[in-house]
Amino acid sequence: MTPPDSPAARIYPPQPFVVALAAWAVPGFGYALVGQRTRGVIVGITVVLLFVAGLLIGGIRSLEVPMAKREEVQVRELERGGVPDPREPRMAFGDEVRGKPWSIAQFFNGPIAFVAGYFSVRAGTVDPSTRQTPGVESHARVNEIAVLYTAVAGMLNLLAIIDSAHRAGRLLETP
């Protein structure tokens, strides 16, 4: 294993679960905690850029958000005279996640995915007067590529989370 850049990581080695949590919260930060700042910066910037690039390709609505109603369901409810509500209270959370499996991979991008998810729901909320949403949903190949970008970014960050936590464990073992 590469020795840590900073002596602090050697003197006060962090707990692996703390490193894993930090690596999820800020992509690449787990490596910074084990004293490998350059590695962390490279991984963090790449993961965030990949995630943002996915949103630029497919639009914010390419994110799959569990418990959010689809546009056509909202329009149908408005036509029946209902109140517009983007939340989906009828489905169980597990069923929703099973129906939107890419959301699991996107979750590993950290809080940035939650913030983007919030804006995705907002961009997908139907305006009762125009019956349209502020954001346009992508389809076919563009949607596939956008989802692939955001999901691969999450999976790469998961890899970094596991690796940085493993390195923290090795630091604890080293006398």
Binding site: Q36, L50, A53, L56, G58, A123, G135, R141, I145, V152
Partner: protein, 100 residues
């Protein structure tokens, strides 16, 4: 990383059949107009680069090795995808001929 996105958008605009003239790209609110078959494969390049960079950042002992190793891995990934595309296209072509 964003240069291939811009190149793909330009390619899509150059292909009027695949790009409805009324569609204006709005970042984050509207999808990138890359519906043409000439444009979207270019979007796989940044993905390959990112996968190679993160994978090699994790695997390499020193960070100095990362640029060279990642560039090499990117070439391997792209070559692998091209070979897979050619093989799959040949299989589809063969099946089409067998069925006609």
């Amino acid at each position: 990383m964003f240069a291939p996105l811009a190149a793909a958008a330009l390619l899509a605009q150059a292909d009027p059949a695949s790009n409805p003239p009324a569609f204006h790209y709005v970042p984050f609110l509207k999808p990138l107009p890359v519906w043409g078959d000439r444009a979207w494969p270019w979007l796989l390049l940044p993905l390959c680069v990112a996968v190679a960079v993160v994978y090699k950042s994790i695997k390499c002992r020193t960070v100095r090795q990362v640029p060279k190793e990642a560039a090499l891995l990117t070439v391997w990934i792209v070559a692998g995808m091209l070979i897979a595309a050619v093989v799959l296209a040949a299989i589809v072509e063969g099946l089409e001929r067998a069925n006609s």
